[in-house]
Symmetry: C2
Subunit: 440 residues, 2 copies
């Protein structure tokens, strides 16, 4: 246990020292074990396992960019993202690990107790067993507080989902090297640091039952989160989502990677002709403290820093967030609740202002005094290379009460309740909700 | 309004008289507008619209019948199943219609206010406008009590979902010919009659908020439905479902209809070589009171009557139902909560007893005194021909507290709460839950 954050800082610095690793960029055409499949150009491992990079063609009813095609990561298997919770002296502690991922900024970040693809834990990698897995799979597991399949980045993954789990245990849990117990308050402090609490941890923590363990939920927003006085009932919120899902405005088709228009693979990397969106690069990894000590893989590297933000305001005295109902190329089920803004602003810089995402300016250009929180975090470092997003919540009491089609006001608690049901809230909104709920 | 059920009976008999229709079986190869597609043998309409009959190949981890292929209906579009509710003198009334469907036993059954495929309401049929649709789509709609995409029969439909809606209105609603207002108590009485309240009505009513309008919910079961004292929390229940969905035991592949093994089309109909499961037949329909007065279509006709039943018992004094977590060939998302038993018993008669569905005997062979309800209802008459299921709930205080893998105890209220979230509870369980909630 850490009595003060400074103790954690010392421990984490020591982890950086003892867990040595090196990530080296390599040309895609020189990536060990990976090659373009003849005919399709899809990037795949020689075993057919792990994941592939393929193409997808999307048509939407949107006025701007009504259709496009793009490369996308296809990884049908579900991993386990699980956090063990245990009370010590009446205070719940969360077991996290200092874990290296090749795409992480700073390499080492705080991951869930278990962060394992199915290939990991079924030993396709022929690596070491995954510690603590027995708390999540099989008969010995503790009390389940959360166990739901949740989506990941729909703009980069095709229908990818992982199992988000929180399990409460009462017995002794040995703390292995690289692991540590943290309280909710300590996690709240660490969430203020850039690139420290990783995406999977943030995603899982969003699903902790509201108010459990006496958390001061979303305390950066004044006013009681009274569901009975919210602008919409849960049935109405789900109805807004249903409307988009039932509208049949979106069609999606998998296509061979070499038929994706506007993208080309020059041997070194796969990139968009205008340098927008992302590139696909290759890396060699040498690591300690991982299941396998050395491997090579492609990674998706976004172009520029993204912006993930909620507009917030009070409606009849009750704090609300403005959710977008958003469709991505890879959305598992057409659309999910998303933050007000979720994009790489650079992708839209060439468009006339009226064609840029709604509320982008309001979230990006708000004065610092209006920001209830503001931090830069990384996305998952196992697939994404230096994918950084600014996470922010902007208080704007003048935001429109009727936000127009595709947007809806809900309270933080309503959003948290929706997270506890599989498949309704996207990973960006879950991540931002965790910042909001835990912020200290 | 009907003061007594006998008044309804008179009205409904009159509807049977004024709504005249005729359904005539025809050979598949003589079905107007429909033909087997060259190459695949898939049955489709010449416009490519409405639906198709194709093939699907399924592999599961089940011990018995680990893999099979079968014909299946593919209908990607979502329809609207919507019920208008309005209070009169403080008593909520539900607007239902006496509607003909070609596959209905008795042809006329009580349907939701709106029961329309997208083809209906976007006028592909070039028929009349769908009455009351404005209460469900567009800006004039009332207060949304339910609006969720819900699955339909996964053994016959590939990933089919419809929009289940309940909308409460306060203004005047003209009652068109063929429509009537019924109270919850009256619907509860009518649910005791075989083949009267249709599948779509039962499906939608399952999603009414629990306890709303003072319903004596699941009154046939003694004891308070206290969620806090239920055998499992909602998180644990969702966890059971997640476990099955994440297990990757199921793979599914669409195949051409003419590659489905064990099935053959003799020109007149498509059937299984052993006469099991279902046949696909053709019908010509002439109707009054429908959007189009005359059409032809294939229908799926199950072989024999099905059994849809819950085992029920008290756990620590709280009434529980035994849910199965069930995968069907066409399940939208791998598996959903289902009744304890959901099958055509005749399909399993040739198997040794140990290979038949678990709890089948307990539900089928229970003494009448143990049945809390027992009624035969029809499945959707727009696609299924005379598809009849016995719906029953069997009280068995000796049912095992630990039911083994793939089964879980939950309370009726927990099941109702799960229905209010899209995609967790299958249509058979929703239908049976409505019988249980409304039964008078």
């Amino acid at each position: 246990m850490f009595r003060q954050t400074s103790e954690f800082t010392t421990w984490f610095a020591e982890q950086r020292r003892v867990q040595r690793h090196r990530v080296t960029p390599v040309r895609l055409d020189a990536l060990d074990g990976w090659a373009a499949e003849p005919g399709t150009g899809n990037l795949r491992h020689r075993t057919g396992r792990f994941f592939t990079v393929e193409g997808v063609e999307v048509t939407t009813g949107r006025r701007v960019t009504p259709s496009w095609s793009q490369p996308i990561i296809v990884q049908p298997e579900h991993g386990v993202l699980g956090i063990v919770v245990r009370e010590f002296d009446g205070v719940p502690h969360f077991l996290l690990q200092a874990k290296m991922e090749p795409g992480n900024i700073n390499l080492l970040q705080l991951s869930p107790t278990v962060q394992a693809t199915r290939s990991n834990y079924t030993r396709v990698h022929a690596g070491r067993a995954v510690p603590y897995l027995e708390h999540f799979l099989g008969p010995r597991r503790g009390r389940v507080l959360l166990d739901a399949l949740q989506s990941e980045q729909g703009s980069w993954f095709l229908g990818k989902r992982n199992r988000n789990m929180i399990v409460e245990v009462t017995g002794d849990v040995p703390v292995l090297p690289g692991f540590c117990w943290l309280t909710a308050a300590q996690i709240g402090e660490l969430l203020r640091e850039d690139h420290l609490v990783n995406m999977d941890t943030r995603s899982v923590l969003a699903g902790l039952p509201w108010g459990r363990h006496g958390r001061p939920e979303a305390a950066v927003l004044d006013g009681a989160d009274d569901t009975d006085r919210a602008a919409h009932t849960m049935a109405e919120l789900i109805g807004h989502l249903t409307e988009v899902r039932a509208a049949h405005a979106v069609t999606r088709r998998r296509v061979p990677l070499n038929e994706v228009k506007g993208w080309s693979d020059n041997g070194a990397e796969l990139r968009h002709e205008d340098g927008r969106y992302f590139t696909v690069i290759g890396v060699d990894v040498e690591a300690d403290g991982r299941e396998v000590a050395r491997w090579s893989q492609p990674m998706l590297a976004p172009v520029g820093r993204g912006l993930i933000g909620f507009l917030a305001r009070h409606l009849d005295g009750v704090p609300h967030l403005l959710a977008q109902i958003r469709t991505e190329a890879g959305s598992f089920d057409v659309a999910e609740f998303a933050p007000t803004v979720q994009c790489l602003p650079a992708n839209h810089a060439h468009l006339p202002p009226g064609d840029r995402p709604r509320f982008l300016d309001a979230v990006r250009d708000a004065p610092d005094a209006a920001r209830l929180l503001d931090v830069t975090h990384s996305e998952e470092g196992g697939r994404f290379h230096h994918a950084a997003n600014r996470y922010t919540v902007v208080l704007d009491e003048d935001a429109p009460r009727d936000p127009g089609p595709g947007f809806v006001w809900l309270t933080p608690r309503q959003l948290a309740d929706l997270v506890r049901v599989p498949g309704q809230v996207d990973v960006e909104a879950r991540n931002l909700l965790t910042c909001l709920r835990w912020w200290r």
